[in-house]
Each structure stands twice: as C-alpha cells, then as structure tokens.
C-alpha cells in the first residue's frame, strides 16, 4: 500500500515541480518574482472525482478565478496551486477544502498546507519530501502543515518555553517554530528545570506564575545551573518590584502581557545574536 502510494507520490511531486517551474522560471516574467507559492494538498478516498470538482469550484468562487489543479494519476490525491495568493489566504483555502471534503468523505480524507518557499531555486527535493510526507499522513480531519526544517544543519537555536497556559504554549511554539527555532515546552517549573539541564537551550522564556515551583525560585535555580543562562521573563506580573527583583536575579529581559508577538520575537532574536 505504502509502496504504491510512494510511486504515485513521486509522480505527483514531479507534476507539482513542473508546474512551479513553468510558472516561475520558464515564463521569465519578473512580475511573479517573489510571489508567494502556497499549495493545498488533498487526499480523498471516496468519490474522489466529484469531491475534487467540488473543492475546486469552491476555491475558484472564493478567489474569483481559476485555480491551478494537479490530479494524481493514482486517483486519490490532488494538489491546488493558488499562485500569487498570499499565505494566509491559502491557509484559509485549505480550511475551505477541508470543509467540503468532510461533507463527501468524512473521516477518509487528509489536507496538507505547504509552501514552495521563496528562494529563487525551488528545490525538487523539497517537493519529493513534501509528497512523501503527505502520502504517509494518516487520514485526519485537521489540516496538516508542511514546513521545511531549516534547523537541521546545526544553525538553529533552541528556546525553552515554560508556561502553565496550554493555549499560550501552543501558540508560542507555533510561532517560534515558524521562526526556525527548536522549541522545548514545559508546563511547570520542575519540568522546565529538567529540560534546561538536559537540553541546555539557548534562551529560556518563562512565566513567573507557575505550578509546583514559583517563578522566582525557578529563576534562582536556573541561575545556579548556569550563571550565563539567557532568560526572558514573559508574564502578567507588571509590578515594578517584581521586575527589579527579576533583573537582580540576572534575567536578560522582561516582557509583560498583553504583548506584541513581533516584539517578543525581536527581543529573543536580539538575545541570540
């Protein structure tokens, strides 16, 4: 099964690569340079033709124009290439595709969102990996993401995130990953300290309000582990005395909530340089 899929996948990724090359290089059109190139990969195991037609129609109505579509000869997978459509919109298209598919083949479909990257030479290996990953993706109602792992070559920084709020942790994890960091997440002080010892992260981002161990104590312990640890306190505590207490404990930066994620990232970035 997986073998057959992989064969088909290969063909699919070749088709995708061709289309992208055709659009961006063969045309030699300077207008498309730097244009976003998102992709929505779909798999549907039931009433494929009908479902794909429907999805396509939906996307085209949404965008008000034709959408480049590649059908896998294997008959189960398809790729939509909304050239020039911004990233966030493509993400939304994936949601639309998902919604349509769930009406046709509930539980027997998968959707993946991918990007061909913005670098001038779009690497055929990336498409290969993408198609391979998609072929192995289990049927799930959630939209999956394909992200090139930039960090594998030893240049990625690691960030340890200690925060009791699960939603916040997930959000920051997502953002930091998009930034190319390796993210370690801990829900309380004890776990955070353990991860710090094991993984020696480049930066620690921690809340002061934790369970199991209080934030100030965690800071003391981190300092004892490694006096040069780069720590960013990211917390609701906006009281001046807490801030000065943290700086006395050797904290590198203190960011209060409500926050601007861009600023948070910039300040972490600054620490990493």
């Amino acid at each position: 099964m997986s073998n057959r899929n992989r064969d088909k996948g290969k063909r699919l990724n070749e088709l995708m690569y061709e289309k992208v090359v055709e659009r961006y290089w063969s045309a030699g059109d300077s207008r498309v340079e730097g244009e976003p190139c998102g992709m929505v990969l779909v798999r549907c195991r039931r009433s494929f033709d009908e479902a794909i037609r429907e999805v396509r129609a939906r996307l085209e109505t949404e965008l008000g124009g034709p959408v480049e579509t590649i059908l896998d000869p294997g008959g189960e997978q398809a790729v939509f290439l909304p050239f020039g459509v911004p990233r966030s919109r493509t993400h939304y298209l994936a949601l639309l595709a998902k919604q349509t598919l769930s009406a046709y083949a509930a539980g027997e479909f998968a959707v993946m969102l991918a990007e061909a990257g913005e670098q001038p030479e779009r690497n055929p290996r990336v498409f290969e990996k993408m198609a391979d990953l998609f072929a192995h993706l289990p049927d799930e109602p959630e939209v999956a993401f394909f992200q090139e792992e930039r960090g594998r070559h030893g240049e990625s920084h690691s960030v340890l995130l200690v925060d009791g709020d699960e939603e916040m942790r997930r959000y920051l994890q997502m953002r930091f990953r998009m930034k190319g960091y390796r993210v370690l997440a801990a829900e309380d002080g004890t776990q955070g300290l353990d991860l710090f010892r094991q993984e020696k992260p480049d930066v620690v981002v921690t809340d002061l309000n934790l369970t199991g161990m209080d934030g100030f104590h965690l800071l003391t312990r981190l300092q004892r582990e490694d006096p040069d640890a780069r720590i960013v306190v990211f917390t609701d505590n906006r009281v001046e005395s807490s801030i000065s207490k943290c700086f006395k404990l050797g904290v590198a930066d203190y960011i209060t909530r409500p926050f601007s994620p861009v600023e948070l990232e910039a300040r972490i970035e600054r620490l990493l340089q």
């Binding site: 309380d188 309000n209 369970t211 209080d214 100030f216 104590h217 003391t220 906006r238 009281v239």
Partner: protein
C-alpha cells in the same frame, strides 16, 4: 399535662415553620447576592489582574501545630499562587513533632536576625524567624505553644503587608483564590474589613502538585455528609448573610482581613476555639460602635480545599469544639442581642444564632422529651407524628435543594450527573442520624464548656489542637470552625 404537651407540640411546629421562613429569607438573599458576585467574577480577567500593581499585597498566615506530614506540600502550593506580591508566614506553634525541622530542611532555612517585628498585638514572644533568600516569600516563625489565636497574632506582628489572610495548614488554596478575594476588596476598600472564602471538602478529589485537578465527591460517608453540609452553609447561608452585612463568621480555614482593623480590635483572642467567629464579632462591634461604614464580605469563588475528618472520633471532637466556641462567643457577646445600635448584626444575626444555632439542641431535646411524653400518655396520634416528622424533613430538604441549585447555577464544580444524584440522595439521608448526631455533639460541646468554664485561665496556653490528641501519625484534624 396533656394540655401542656399539646401546646408544646403546636409551638414546636410554629418554631419549625419560623426557622424555615428565616432560612428561606437567607436563601433568597443568597440568590440575590450571588448574581453580582458571579457575574463580577466571570467578567474579570484574573490572570491579568493578578499582575496589576493595583492589587494590594497580602500576607498569608499559616499557623501550624503538629503538621509535619502535610506542611511541606501545603507551603509549596501556597508559594505558587497566582498573585503578584504576597508572603507566606508559617507559624510553628510549639509543635511536639518535627514540623519546624522539616520546614528548615525542605527550604534550607536559616535564622533571620534582623527581623524583629514590632509588637502591634500582644502575643507569646517568638523564638526565632527563619528565612531563605532563595524562597523570598517564605517566613517561618518558631514560637512556644500558645494556641491558634496567639500564633495568628505573632504572624500579624511579623507581616509586612496591609492585608492578612489566615489559612489552615491542612488546606489548599486554588491558584486564583487570592486574586479573586483581592478583587472583592479592591472594589470597595473603604468599607471592606473582612472577606470570607468558600471552603470545600477535598476528600475524594485528585490532587497533583498541591492543586485539585479532578473534583469528585468523597467516597466515605462522613466526608460526604460534610460536603453537603458545607455547601449548604457556605452557599445557602453565607452568601445571603453577607448580602445583608450580617455575616457572623469568616472561616478560619480561609479568610482575608484588613490588618489595621484587626490590630485595632486587639488581634485574635487567645485560648479557646471559635477565634474565627470571635474576630468577626469584634470587628462588627468595633465598626458599629464607632459608627464607621463597613462590610464583612464573602467571596464564594475564592475556594479553599480542606481535608474533612473521616472518622467518627475526630469529627465528633471537631463539632464539640465548635459547639463550645459558639456558646462561648454568644455568651460573651450577649449584650449585642436586639440592640438597635448594632443594626442587622444585633437585630438579626445574633438572635438568629442564639435561637437557631446555640439553643437548637435544647429545642430538639425538649421535642424528644415531649415525644416520649406523648407515647407515655398514649397521645400518639400517628398523624401528628407524621406531620411533625414530615415538616422537619421537608424544611431541611428544601434548603438542601436550594443550595444545590445555587451550586449548579453559579459554580458547577461537580460536573457529573452521578454526583448530582448522589448529592440529592445523601441530602435526604442526612436526616436519618447525621443531623441528630450534630445536635448531640453540640450539646456535648456545651457540657464541656460548662465544665471547663472556671478553669479557662489554664486553658489559654493549650494548643488549639488539643481536642484531637494526636495518635502518632494521624493527620491532624481540621482546626477552627469552618462552619458556624
């Protein structure tokens, strides 16, 4: 004789009806009060408020007597509350076990010399203050045994902040409990002198890292009954009383006070149980006598989980102690009774407490005697008996249902249908024995009080845990009155 008994029966029925009506009134006030309490909490962002400079810093006072088994867990959990600036002051009240040593070992405490603490209130001189800069919010006071009230006074003398909060060493606070209470204070700092918290029974719940993670009803019978009893007292009663500013007790397990007022009334009273009710009575008296606007508030969403006694022996001794404390407080403050000067407190709260709480056992007892009389004189009309029993049962049950509805409307802590069925069922079951036992315990408490009355001076230096003479390694019983 027959006429007397008949007359008594009639009076008794009207007494019960009157109790019911008053209970109803209080329950009605509870419903009225709970709305703004809950809505105010729902629309507040405690996460953010807990980090705002406008929330006043708080000193938590934790008196500990023979708590070596649980103290570390509890202190650890108290150190991780969601609040920007607070301190935890543990007062070791001359424990006979290793309470002090386990604290010193667990937190690597060292004696702190520069902490003298100016005596604002009289208390037994302390031996030593312990501290470790790595746990900057924790202080441990070691002092000779002097009772719970004395320990709290010592804690007040050391405390650095304008608000104090007393917490039993066997209780766990929810992470948000402090900021929820502080919100109530912040909304009306001009008048708020004390705020009571909601005490719930932790038996049966799962606890991880000092946090109650899964709320379940207790499996054992005694804690189950107490769960329902607490719910009735805290939700059905205290919300209503606080709504009309007639709250007579703030639980010793979790309450918050404005320190300046506590100091003004001379701190906690020494020596015998009921110090939590006593401090509130003193505050009422002080504010009313000086004609100051004030309120004793209640914050039902600030939750403290406590371990309820699960054996007959410990439970009965706790209840006897409460009975004793209640009688003592009522006796000492009898001058408040029906004096218009003391407003709602003197005209309603105190009479209510005397007639329906303190004297309750005697009404019940005479009722029983009358019943025996009926039987002896062959007057037992099954109809009369049935009516009497039914009224008694229904009037209690209607309040139980009322407080369950309140819980369901406002808090929904017990999420499963099974729990609700059990609660309605056990609320009815309580009438077959548990309430009668309660009356008996209270009566025994009164007897203890009368016996020991002249030896009170000796008692002042006894521990507040003396009623649960520690069999080694028995977890200490809950201390102080959690319900009046």
């Amino acid at each position: 004789m027959r006429a007397l008994l008949l007359g008594y029966g009639t009076v008794a029925i009207y007494y019960v009806m009157a109790v019911t009506l008053i209970y109803f009134m209080i329950l009605f006030f509870s419903y009225k009060g709970v709305y703004s309490m809950i809505k105010g909490a729902v629309y507040s962002r405690f996460q953010s408020l807990s980090g705002s400079e406008s929330a006043p810093p708080v000193s938590l006072l934790v008196p500990a007597y023979n708590e070596e088994l649980t103290i570390i867990e509890n202190v650890k959990s108290l150190l991780t509350l969601n609040y920007h600036t607070y301190e935890v002051i543990v007062i070791n009240d001359g424990s006979k076990d290793n309470t002090l040593q386990v604290l010193i070992d667990a937190f690597q405490l060292e004696p702190k010399e520069d902490e003298k603490g100016h005596q604002a209130i009289e208390c037994t001189p302390i031996r030593q203050v312990y501290y470790n800069p790595a746990y900057p919010t924790l202080y441990v006071i070691d002092k000779p045994n002097g009772g719970k009230a004395d320990s709290l006074n010592a804690g007040i003398n050391l405390s650095h902040y304008p608000l104090i909060s007393s917490i039993d060493a066997d209780s766990l606070l929810e992470k948000d409990a402090l900021i929820r209470m502080a919100r109530v204070y912040m909304e009306n700092p001009a008048e708020t002198v004390a705020i009571g918290g909601n005490v719930r029974i932790a038996n049966g719940c799962s606890i991880r890292d000092g946090v109650v993670t899964d709320v379940r009803l207790p499996k054992k019978l005694w804690p189950m009954f107490q769960t329902l009893e607490y719910m009735k007292a805290f939700l059905g009663g205290r919300i209503g009383w606080s709504h009309i500013n007639g709250l007579i007790i703030v639980s010793g397990a979790f309450g918050m006070f404005r320190k300046s007022n506590v100091v003004e009334v001379g701190g906690y009273r020494d020596g015998y149980p009921g110090e939590d009710m006593n401090i509130i009575i003193k505050l009422h008296r002080h504010m009313l006598e000086n004609k100051l606007p004030y309120r004793v508030a209640y914050c039902p969403d600030a939750v403290c989980w406590t371990q309820a006694p699960d054996t007959y022996r410990i439970l009965s001794s706790q209840r006897k102690r409460w009975g004793r404390g209640n009688l003592k407080n009522m006796w000492e403050n009898r001058d408040l009774l029906l004096r218009p000067k003391y407003k709602v407190f003197g005209m309603l709260t105190v009479p209510y407490n005397i007639i329906f709480e303190t004297l309750n056992p005697y009404f019940k007892l005479t009722g029983l005697l009358a019943l025996i009389g009926y039987v002896a004189m062959d007057m037992t009309n099954w109809k009369v008996l049935l009516v009497f029993a039914l009224i008694n049962f229904l009037n209690g049950y209607v309040l139980a249902v009322g407080s369950l509805v309140l819980e369901e409307l406002a808090f929904q802590r017990y999420t499963r249908m099974r729990d609700l069925v059990r609660m309605t069922w056990y609320s009815a079951l309580m009438f077959l024995g548990y309430y009668q036992l309660g009356v008996l315990w209270r009566l025994q408490g009164h007897i203890e009080f009368l016996r020991k009355n002249n030896t009170w001076g000796v008692m002042t230096r006894q521990s507040w845990n003396q009623d649960a003479p520690a069999v080694n390694n028995t977890p200490p019983v809950a201390t102080g009155g959690k319900i009046a």
